[in-house]
Amino acid sequence: MKKKIELIEKIEGEAWLEYEYKNDYIEHVFIKFASSRYIEDILKNRPPLDALAINPRVCGICGHAHLIATVRALEDCYDSIYIPQKALDTRELTLIFELIQNHFKWFYLTIYPLVTSQNSITKATIPSQTASEAIAILAGQYPHTSYSIVGGVVSEITPLMIRLVAQKIDRLIAIFKEYIINRDLDEFLYCNKIEEMLKKEGDLPYIMQNIVDKNWQQLGRSHDRFIVFGKSGLFKSGKSIHTRYRQHIDTKYITTFTTPNSKAKSLLYREKFYETGPLARAMLNKTPLIKEAHRRFGDSIFSRILARVCEIPQLLLYAKQITKSINFSEPSYIEPPKLPAFATGTGIVEAARGSLIHKVEIKDNLISNYTIMTPTQWNLGNGTPNNPSSAQKALKGLHKNMPTELVFKSFDVCSVCTTH
């Protein structure tokens, strides 16, 4: 059996792919992440609230999701705690902006060059800067704010701030129409015809047409199993196998395993690998265009890329709705009682790349154990040839001349999250 080792870079770090070929077709791929930053160990024996400052630093691109997961895990340590709706709405907003900035960066810095061999840096930075500004208005700065704390948020959320944020949303909507697809957002959300999308102007039809022209639209099909743990006003939790939806899932069925050569954990649900992320969310939400893509091309790179870009208008319209419903007479923060001296808590959030789960254990007022389960550990686990992870399965069977890097990166790898 032939072997090849390839270094994949610009994935918030690096990973090694060790391909095993059979007659020029990939038989199995080992995925190895080389370094770890030991965050879970660093958190041990610290006062629990310190996690709010440390955890955003797990990741430079999705640190905000780590903050929200942390605060949810800590709030889950109480038997009951009241968080004002205004604070919950604000958290939802800042999280949405992080997702949007991730999606733009991924589309223009990762996918676009791989499909077209061209670069478009400012198309990544202009929207991501706009999203950063919106987060900074509410949360002080981006990246690495810790503005969300047990009991609410540190900022006093005023009508003035929300007006500014609403304007950033309008700016992002305009950018989306100008760069991605020249169509009204509402109209685009109800669109369920691939060809109709492809006929429009914009980088999304351009990229998707490119993929079709290269006959790549069926590449990267995986297990067709999807899982979403985080619920929000936009996302549904549950799992979906092919198109069969099950609402009930429980984090207690998550198991982890590590392989000797990689610093990354792999996550399974009832011993099976699932795909998490925008495609999974779209499958559970039954987003019309994604349902159609899935019907025609399965869980391929076509559906995966399309699902992620299609999430942007959903997020923007959802954000807009939140800005209109915020109740300014509520406080932004209500001081909670002291954290219990002994407790455990789980925090779940839908990050850009999928479900992110934090588990904290507190003993004698200190963190005794902290577990971080990231989306990349679901999608890019290191399974065996008989039980491959979603990314391994997507690569399996590809000819050596096929765009393996694109297939791999269609999951959007976050190396630093994987090996926190």
């Binding site: 270094l7 930053r37 609230l49 797990v58 500004e133 900074a136 006093e156 630093v416």
Partner: protein, 308 residues
Amino acid sequence: MIFHKIYTMHSKLDILWLSALACNGNAHSFLNYKDIDLFLQEFDFVYHPLLPSKYKLTDIANFKVECDILIIEGSIEKHHKIADTYLDEVISYYANMAKVIITLGTCASFGGIFAQYSQNISGLHYRQKEKLNHYNSFYNKTITLSGCPVHPETLVGTLYMIRDDTKLPIDEYNRPLYYYGYLVHNGCSRNEYFEYKIDKHNFGEVEGCSFYEHGCQGTYTHAPCNINLWSGVNSKTRAGQPCMGCSEPNFPATNLWETKKHMGIPAKLPYKIPKRAYLSLAGVAKTFTIERFSKRIFESDEKKDRVD
């Protein structure tokens, strides 16, 4: 610190951006630089962890690349490898070649969060405040830009000053005083509450200062957070989050949300303010009850709010 003009055969300076043990926070913070397109017309990345660059990481690790400026992001761990080459060899090779080295972020500068895991993890020249010897021969051409992350203007401004041969006054850690001569306190919108020693601070309010109860380190943390606002609009302390001291060598301290006090007196006082001076002024300030500070800023004196 004065750098001699960097002469190159090409018009733009070549920057090699190396990631060690990093979260990429500084790379993403840099992407927030408003005029990044103009910047990229004047500087070239031979390698950047996010942006398209001339070379691949394997080229870097095989010593095939030339650079004028070496940027290191992330903590340095002994025996860490990038693209199968020891990071130590990669750093030594390019540090030797570069005219200027920038340790970008608190991890690369002082070790940061990840250095708390093991003695084998540090910054390039420091482990917290302890000066290390391993890369000492490069110390005089290193500029320290600490922060978690560093504000994009701090990086870009420094790079232009290097290019233009601008005199760069520095502090004891080689940090440029144009940025680190400031304290996070300078320019904070909550300053009055500090000046008049109003202890009371509630999260979720525009009023109050978190120095007294909630651990704000802004008065002794060197960074221009409230001079060059984040994304041009805000800062953590303005929003209401205590400064966590992320640009200082000892970041992160423990118990970050609480002010450590000795018999009610803050254990850490504002930077280089003598205890006697601070306490005398505090005593006097506390004597007065100033009614304005007990009122909410956004509340009309009487019920005059327009509801229509």
